[in-house]
Assembly symmetry: C3
Homo-oligomer: 260 residues x 3
């Protein structure tokens, strides 16, 4: 099974032809679309989604993840094997920063062996390298056949989540389809938070009060709520509304919450 | 086969991980995406689409339908079996109102048995309850194993379609991708309508004249046409244009047409 | 394997029920979505995408392509077999103009035989004719069973790409998801172009200078670049930006580039 994520959108045909390239290698490959609406060129958005999704995939799934603004440059195409055995295929540009840190890295291979590529365009490695390699990996090709080991890889810079007394700091990861604000703050930093607690976000001269809850219904429609979401991170929502319309916080900005 | 509908959008990863949850239960499950762009939180929009789609699904398909603004509250997760044997899995919040009324209900089960759930988040029953249960049902698990029978379920309020002489009344269901206005008026209420007949919509002080036709080409480009669409309901279209831009009628509003 | 393209969008349920119609014919049919965001009613946009995609499909794939503003009129439903054996199913309205010209046509069949249709709506041949016929063709039904041979078919008018000294003329095909401008100018018209060459687009009183390159990184962020893309056509891009926002050229407009 191949889980497929990209920033190519579904309005172009790129996702379709990459799937065709997978099927050329192995007609029986099973492909699950995770998301193709990563913000164009936003490696960080992609990296955060990869981290949230991987825990929900079957362990033997191959995660084909392509957000690749540097396609055709010297950035390397890689396969990464995590310590728990999960496998990812994509560009070495920081896209695997958060999974690498959370799960630990067992091995990285540079995808040098052209036997497992489909051709050699310089602008569409998704179709020509990543998709066919993911298909071969899914079909059982051993990592050592793909290329030599890499001993280091690219990390993104980001604001690590920390807790200092009543203050919790982190980074806004992205907004989802409903306008919910996703942060990189894990549940482990808020174990003492209880339903009904009040949190405050300070943003320049303005501040917003949030109720900590468990379900969207814990606050009245239109009100701000914070909770640990289904992926284990602090999420800020507006019941039946959009936090994105409410808050003036950009994706990637630091965020500070104070328990009051 | 599992037909999958939601209001989660394809820009988030939620659809992808729900599919992964299905595949965890049964790697061979076949999934067909019906639509994931139901208007966020619009149970009624979802209910109308479920009704239009179900007649086109193979009879043994399991319809996984999740529009669930009340996730985490006391609303029940259910499987519904219609009198013709078709099966639906989703929240008991009115989403199955129209199929229940049209096809009749054979049996409803509350999804109590956690053996068939995946975990227990409070905010993502799509991944944790509905998707895995749909996979088990598709794989042949018997309804009585899922939970106890429910003797009633939630209905939505809506304007039932009626005919009174030359006046046909109903409700606007939704606009489709092309801006066509879909109503809940079934073909049985317009058996006497013939190609070339004129219909009039009265909307406040304004009224619009429509030609009743069979194909979009029966009127000139830019003109309004009404016909019974491929799902058997009255649809209002503009040839090579968008009825949504033309008419100032909201989704869910009552609509009255007069044969003139 | 069936590759599926349409202008129906994914926000409606039409793609889903067409897939259900395929599965009614052959539960094991494999379907790959190519793109459902062809501009509504734009046969030419569809035709250009069909041309770009077909080279990347397995040779035995059936290409189900439906952009069909004339559904229900006298336009014919067809299956086309190209000289290299590739098969396409869709409306005879010009959608196969470019593949027909590029690959040559072996045979066209009018889809007359209702045995292979699903029903007879007048507004949704996608579900009722094209999808089931594609499924039967994919399952091995012989062309002669579908209907009689057609000796001619519909062509679109368009600006054929030509080269005259340093001037290259053609047509803008469409913008992709990243705002890259795709033209119909094939690599064969620019064999002498070298990395670092300057091209000029003249557009009314304004002109734009472009660098000819190989990868998006060959110019600084925000600068215009031209290259032959992964499908073999001249593409105009802005590094980390959108050519669509930069240039005031519409889809379908002629385009002239001068090597300076």
């Amino acid at each position: 099974m191949i889980a497929f994520l990209s920033d190519w959108g579904l309005s172009s045909y790129y996702v379709g032809v990459a799937k065709a390239a997978i099927k050329e290698v192995n007609r029986k490959a099973e492909i699950i679309d995770i998301c193709h609406d990563i913000k164009p060129f936003s490696i960080k958005h992609g990296a955060y989604v990869v981290q949230r999704v991987i825990r929900d995939l079957p362990k033997d799934a191959v995660f084909l993840a392509v957000v690749d603004p540097g396609v055709g440059t010297s950035r390397k195409p890689i396969m990464m094997i995590l310590k728990d055995g999960r496998r990812l295929v994509g560009p070495d540009n920081g896209l695997f920063t958060f999974v690498g840190e959370e799960y630990g890295i067992h091995e990285i291979r540079e995808l040098e062996n052209r036997e497992y590529h489909r051709g050699s365009s310089r602008s569409f490695h998704g179709r020509d390298i990543f998709a066919p390699v993911a298909a071969y990996v899914d079909a059982g090709v051993e990592p050592e056949k793909l290329g030599s080991r890499l001993m280091n890889f690219e990390y993104l810079k980001y604001k690590k989540p920390v807790r200092d007394g009543n203050t919790i700091m982190g980074e806004t990861a992205f907004y989802d389809h409903f306008g919910n604000l996703e942060t990189n703050i894990p549940a482990s930093l808020g174990k003492d938070l209880e339903e009904g607690d009040t949190l405050e976000i300070v943003k320049g001269r303005r501040s917003f009060k949030l109720t900590f809850g468990n379900t969207y219904y814990d606050v009245n429609p239109g009100n701000l709520m914070a909770h640990f979401d289904s992926a284990g991170f602090l999420e800020i929502t507006v019941n039946k509304g959009s936090a994105q319309h409410f808050l003036s916080i950009e994706e990637g900005e630091p965020i500070t919450l104070v328990k009051v």
